[in-house]
Subunit: 665 residues, 2 copies
């Protein structure tokens, strides 16, 4: 609480579980909770990190302000001697996209992952002290998803022992890289490696872009910002950039050579390092994206839940107070599944951390057997959680009615800053099809006795699952984890099996894959939803301390699963997994679960432990003092600097005074 | 075409129907097409109406620029002596929310609809010459949907023959009215009418807010802007306002007295004018909202369709060009149903115009019999079309991949400016429940022999529909309008009947309604989708001239219906209307329809006849010259005014030079 009256105290008194224990479950450990509290407070209490003014700033002021914050954050990190964990949390609580995200999140890891020992020794210290600032220049104007189609060239010139980096077409312009437009001094540039007239495909190169003396682009290099993006502040704090090369020369040793090397003579040599290491990085990046999805979703539901408890509309009896919006079943049926989703994504994100470590250990032991499954699984979860979160944030905004449309609600910004996640690091539909491809392969190999592993293990029981019919007889049967799990397994398996069968009718498999791709995407979604449900259930099989904590999570797990079942009822019915009657029972159980969650709703979002600064929402304030704050915030708008607006004399007055014909407009 | 090479010419050559004839169908008549072309060109060719710079402007410049445009538009309307139809089209092509929207769209109609003859004679000439500017001050900080809960009071003072307008609480502050914050001189204010200590509920009052001399708020009146809203430009061009009254006095004759009057003595008298007239206005307003939905949806799909034909990704064979994104089935399965929806909403909007006239004629003959059905129908269609359009715009943005996130794509603005439609003029969920209430009433009256009328007529065949089982045997059977129609009728009727039965189990009907509200909302959606499908089918029963035009529309009608069937498969299966096999056949037919639409896709969106100015999208350009324009647009961003950004010296340089410790940030 941050002082004053707590308008939500009656709600908090209703809750039936130990919120502090739940905070630890959400954070992952009491250590993480403690560090994150410390960092969140540090940011919230420092006026430099103020963000409520963001939507009102023009692009230039907005951007300059971000430079100030990002640099100041780095200064504080040094002054306070924060460790890596603390520094990264501090940056995330600053909650503003900045060039540093790409420097730390992409540039440094690219050098670590793709650079040789020598390259790492040369470049990492510079980057880690921020003596250079780097970005990740992959996407081009003409190519995003299809990385192999990139057009920028890096041609080896054996005469000078250099690569010539060049942008041969308009569409080969680098386009989108964050931090590129105005800040980065260096970039990892992806370009087609050409030696001796031969195209060896795409590789990474470290290229200096700007002079370290005056920050001007080096000769042959054109750089700019690609312009305004969705939302007021949102990603407009970031200098997503455009970059063109006119035959720019770099020394040979600036090609990232951990996997492939070009010799002095221009010969391409493969090193002993397995190419598969790249997939390890991909699993890592996507794991962080899933974790971020749970954060974004939980912020949105925290705002919508608190406001739904404050807002009252209709239902007054004899002059008494109106009904809290959160008491309406239509509100609950939209809001509570999103609370459940936030927790579900949190736990599947936690599990992905384990998966990443498992994959890395195996890679180091040259065991590549689990890679395809791990790759498909992370691709699918990235796709599923980010799409659901983007939609969920917008749903939360709508759940806040008209006031959700104000920037001061925090939700427009949250949405605008979140949605690109559905596109970057793999377009969500492209990723679904990758998952589907893996599922089809898994099924096609069943005959050869290859046993499906990991999240596809259930496909090994395909025959049995094809026979399955749910034995649910009463609503409460749907509370049993086994009952839910097997229904989701059967649905996913049968969706996949059905498409596989349709695919087999095509003489050209690729043509079939293309023709049936919409069905394939649906099969992939069914598979990924099963993963999330099963990991939530697994989490609940472990010991979870704290009064009532486990019970709340069991309810949320049921809500998440039954909500999906209701939403995708067509799948479950058309595959014959359940009967219409059983579908109705699930719906009935869902309603009863909503009633059970209702008194705990506020406590369940309190457990996310967000400061008012981080939430950045007058509707989501901890103390529920919504109306006064809405009112106070309004007056900060620049338009309110004067009572009579600029433009009155030139435009409004001549109209009112009927002097328009002579007015010069 | 607007000059230069037409990159989409090959696409246009593929089309199999007469685009010019389709343009007339879309516009409604050749007269409307001709006027709209003239007005669109007038706006597009005038540099004052430029809008590409909107996202970059700070709030003050943005707003001042809107004042300029709105006033200039009015000047042009006078100079060119435009009639009402032309003026209204010109304003819509200016495509920027402004105070004039509320002045013409709400203030003037409110006086027309609720003012007496005397009041109309006094106020309308002033408003029509814009000697006064008015807004519509209904919504308050604490009350939106529940209009009867408004708190502002208008207390009659018999001593002075005045009303005292007052804001007794913080939550009674007027909040949201467009045009209020900075521009309006007058408002129709909704307040609780109090005479002699008795509260008579909410009525409208004409209140002058600002001095006509210096534009300052009159004594006792506090006005401001409520601050930034979703999006860059979007509704930030509008001065949505806050308004508080401190015992402000207005003459008695400024109460809008067409329906109720307050006498000199303070007695409330009902006039002979039926209260039901209000519903006529509501039908009118919602009809325009549905028409606007088809416009917004068609703009978005026009952009996404053209860009999908330009964009290529993956699938290159032997160095040939990559596959056009529009050829991917996943893209078609998302995009083509939205093209179909645009047309579907267009035709149901056309029908609503007829419904409005029908209702008004009956009202004038004191026939109120069709009002409840007409009211439910328009409420439902407003809810259905606006929700689908908001989601559709965002889907189109995602269909444009990363570049859709740039403001220059036009889609972020289109989304941000459109979404409030889901909330204003009735929150979409609240409206669904109104529809459901009407459906339940219709069913409950079946026993008493009351025959359902209009869009609920099918409920009269409830018994028969309960017996229905689809006889579809092959995919093409789903192309028959009757087959589709009866399946949608059966599904809607059974959904309603099932909830009605569950409702009957509750001893307290209101409690039941509240408990089952999520199911009720689903029944309402099923009913409204049926209306749209049936009106599309009705449209196709008429003669439609032009080579191939009708055939294209038949395909789109089938796509619209079968897409909904697939999306809501659970409904159709759980109510037993169709079998899983028949559901699969519908899906199969859908795929084949997508292939048939594919060569006509560009022509189908060309038929909307939008200028490049109106679309405001580099991705949706008529000539498909996407990449060059994306590139050119980028350089206009203010951040590109200098190569080295403002903030380099203060922030970036000290970091790079490791001089942060001493830097003052």
């Amino acid at each position: 609480m941050e002082g004053g009256v707590d308008h939500l105290a009656p709600e908090r008194n209703k809750s039936e579980f130990d919120v502090d224990a739940m905070k630890i479950v959400w954070a992952g450990s009491s250590h993480v909770l403690q560090v994150s509290e410390r960092m969140a407070r540090l940011v919230a209490s420092d006026p430099v990190f103020r963000k409520d003014n963001r939507p009102m700033l023009g692009r230039k002021e907005l951007f300059k302000n971000t430079l100030r914050k990002a640099t100041y954050a780095w200064k504080r990190i040094i002054e306070l001697r924060l460790n890596e964990e603390e520094a990264s949390m501090l940056r995330s609580f600053v909650d503003e996209p900045a060039f540093t995200d790409l420097h730390w999140g992409m540039f440094v890891p690219a050098i670590k992952g793709q650079g040789t020992e020598d390259q790492q020794q040369k470049w990492l210290p510079l980057a880690q002290k921020m003596q250079i600032i780097g970005c990740y220049a992959q996407t081009e104007l003409g190519h995003g998803s299809n990385v192999q189609g990139l057009e920028t060239t890096a041609t080896f010139d054996p005469k000078t022992d250099e690569f010539v980096i060049h942008s041969p077409t308009l569409t080969s312009s680098k386009w989108w890289p964050g931090g590129l437009g105005k800040v980065s001094t260096h970039a990892v540039v992806y370009a087609r490696l050409i030696t001796d007239g031969q195209d060896h495909g795409v590789n990474g190169f470290i290229v200096q872009l700007r002079s370290l003396d005056d920050h001007l682009p080096l000769p042959g290099i054109t750089i700019g910002d690609i312009g305004m993006k969705f939302g007021n502040g949102a990603y407009n704090t970031m200098d997503n950039g455009v970059l063109r090369f006119d035959n720019v020369r770099i020394p040979r040793d600036q090609m990232l050579m951990r996997v492939s090397q070009v010799t002095r003579e221009g010969k391409l040599v493969q090193s002993k390092v397995p190419r598969q290491l790249v997939y390890g990085t991909m699993v890592y990046v996507r794991q962080t994206i899933v974790a971020d999805a749970s954060v974004a979703m939980s912020r949105a539901v925290c705002i919508a839940t608190r406001y739904s408890a404050v807002r009252r509309q209709f239902g007054s009896h004899n002059g008494g107070p109106e009904t809290q919006v959160i008491d309406y079943k239509t509100q609950q049926a939209r809001l509570f599944p999103l609370i459940a989703s936030a927790y579900a994504f949190r736990f599947v994100g936690e599990w992905l951390k384990w998966l990443y470590m498992d994959v890395m250990q195996r890679l180091q032991a040259s065991d590549f057997s689990t890679l395809p499954e791990a790759h498909a699984c992370t691709a699918g979860l990235k796709s599923l959680t980010t799409s659901a979160t983007a939609d969920g944030i917008e749903e939360c905004r709508k759940l806040c009615g008209g006031h959700g449309y104000l920037c001061s609600s925090g939700l427009p910004e949250l949405f605008a800053v979140y949605v690109p996640t559905c596109t970057y690091e793999g377009d969500n539909v492209v990723l679904q099809l990758q998952v589907a491809r893996h599922l089809m392969k898994t099924i096609s190999q069943l005959g050869s006795g290859k046993k499906p592993i990991g999240t596809t293990a259930y496909i090994g029981r395909l025959e049995q699952l094809m026979q399955y019919r749910s034995d649910v007889q009463k609503a409460e049967d749907w509370l049993k984890p086994d009952v839910v799990l097997v229904a989701f397994e059967a649905r996913a398996a049968r969706k996949s099996a059905a498409v596989a069968q349709n695919l087999s009718k095509f003489s050209n498999p690729e043509e079939g894959f293309q023709e049936l791709s919409a069905d394939l995407a649906e099969a992939a979604v069914a598979h990924c939803q099963l993963i999330v449900v099963s990991k939530f259930i697994e989490k609940l099989q472990k010991d979870i301390p704290g009064k009532g904590v486990k019970q709340q999570l069991e309810r949320l797990c049921s809500i998440y699963a039954l909500f999906l079942l209701h939403k995708h009822l067509g799948d479950f019915l058309s595959t014959g997994c359940i009967t219409p009657k059983q579908g109705n029972l699930a719906n009935e159980q869902l309603r009863s679960l909503y009633s059970q969650v209702r008194p705990n709703a506020i406590a369940l979002v309190d457990a996310f432990n967000y400061t008012d600064h981080y939430l950045g929402s007058v509707l989501g304030r901890y103390d529920g003092n919504v109306y006064q704050m809405l009112y106070d915030e309004a007056w900060k708008d620049p338009l309110n600097d004067s009572v009579v607006p600029d433009g009155y004399q030139e435009h409004i007055r001549p109209m009112l005074k009927q002097q328009l014909r002579n007015a010069r407009l």
